[in-house]
Symmetry: C2
Subunit: 350 residues, 2 copies
Amino acid sequence: MSARLTIALDAMGGDHAPDMVVGGADKARERCPDVRFLFFGDEQRIAPLLDQRPELKRIATIHHTPDWISNDAKPAVALRTGRKSSMRLAINAVSSGEAQCVVSAGNTGALMAMAKIVLKTLPGIDRPAIASVFPTQRGESIMLDLGANVECDTRNLVEFAVMGSVFARTVLGLMEPTVGLLNIGAEEVKGHESLRTAAAQLRETPLPGKFYGFIEGNDIAAGTVDVIVTDGFTGNVALKTAEGTAKLYAEFLRRTFESSLLAKIGYILARSAFKKLKQRADPRRYNGAMFLGLQGVCVKSHGGTDALGFANAICVAADLVVQGFNEKIKAELAHVGNTPVPDSSKAAAV
Amino acid sequence: MSARLTIALDAMGGDHAPDMVVGGADKARERCPDVRFLFFGDEQRIAPLLDQRPELKRIATIHHTPDWISNDAKPAVALRTGRKSSMRLAINAVSSGEAQCVVSAGNTGALMAMAKIVLKTLPGIDRPAIASVFPTQRGESIMLDLGANVECDTRNLVEFAVMGSVFARTVLGLMEPTVGLLNIGAEEVKGHESLRTAAAQLRETPLPGKFYGFIEGNDIAAGTVDVIVTDGFTGNVALKTAEGTAKLYAEFLRRTFESSLLAKIGYILARSAFKKLKQRADPRRYNGAMFLGLQGVCVKSHGGTDALGFANAICVAADLVVQGFNEKIKAELAHVGNTPVPDSSKAAAV
């Protein structure tokens, strides 16, 4: 059972696990050829799901684990008590070389804490970041950090810029991605001190892309830059604010089409066009937050997603491995001139 | 020429000033009876605009000012060199008692700096905040701070909560408004230290509303709480991210209706329903950011707005005066037990 790519899956993480994990793997199998899956979790629940999917079963192995991490477990507790959990053993599989990447829809804080302890940060990276791709007026952009680091210093922001632009070039296929620092005004005098020093440093840093300068919140969806760099607090608020606003407008749209008979008929006529819009803006299409900066590929799926969303998270992880993202990061960091930091003990407040 | 309410207008601030300022006053006149306007700015440009509007002219006075503040002027420079500017003299009119409130669509940083120097903060308020009302799934909410204070400590956040809930009760008419602190998770352990101490303090503070706890970015548009409290950096990013996302979805909608002949016909049928949606979500309806915490009412209009938007900002200012917002804040602060701070010298980084 040799395969180009082996993916470790935390089969017990997520609201609809293990069903959507197994279902997601089955969908991902069709999109990523030559792949193998290691399912970590309750064999009694996973095996029957695989029995229903003979093609998936042929490329799947179950590693039975009696424990899993609950959604409300604190990262430190999960670290201490979750050594036999599905999440931890799935991460271990990457560290041991059994798998090339791991995907989980479980507890984000626990996943980041475990991934940092087990996989370690890349040489030259002080702190890993959570990154995600989302739709904009001009196409797609990547934003990081989305919540791994509440406080970020200049060095962290510069490293995020390097990782983000390597991603944009490697996975999004942009030759010269633009990088913006999220701030509250384009002027030099605005924002936190760390933003100003990071901007000064990024102007001198040979990025794989081009440093654009400061951007503001409205530039995110406008697609003004390809890579949006921010601290984990601001990034998390911005991402969730955008999600909430999108939901609000979807609700306004629904109410509008239901507000009169003519509007209802209008909807029926425009329905197939709206189906395409729905597909385009489908959050499942953008499911899969990447933990960048680790010696190993780890992707976090949204906990509430379904098989289609989970399949997307699997493909995000596969893409990072196949494109050799981490190797390119290492090469780029050497180029930027960062030196490895032995102390990666600063805990990220996930 | 006696009137219940006199409003000072910076006639030279904004992209389309003074036309939209005069036009906005004319529209506001119809909505706020018994009002008078003081126009500060270039008489040669304002007078002809008033000549076209005899009903407005009857309740208007022009105060000629040779100077105005440019949009890119730094607040400190504007303070030093803009003593004869339309913005400064309009603010002075509130301080002297000639007017009860001031509205400007000019440079936000300069307006806040001047308003703080001239009007001073309310006793018991350490720092004024910028606040705005916006639509949610449940109705309307108010968020503050939106950019006056990049860094906020516990005390500032608690004061914002008090001001926001007084506003929600007084102007939005909610008997027991709910107040949430914007964070990146509902758990106690998450976010900045100042958020945790503010939450602890708000649980003990007799607010005019009810403290809900932490909320996340998606709760803003969901309308989970009536008052969203945050630091000026995060609030500014969240507001602009929401604006950008709304624009993105409007653009997706436009493209969807243009994507096929059936969709185009569908739009024609649903058009009048969409007109109502457009009106509901019209940013001009929510134009008018309030500077709360000053001894005097000062409202900032969006710089790019038109007469309709500017009229809304005028009505926001009039509402604050008519509802006795500042008096209620003072009463509430006495209730909360805050003591006046003599030192209001900490400069806000607008």
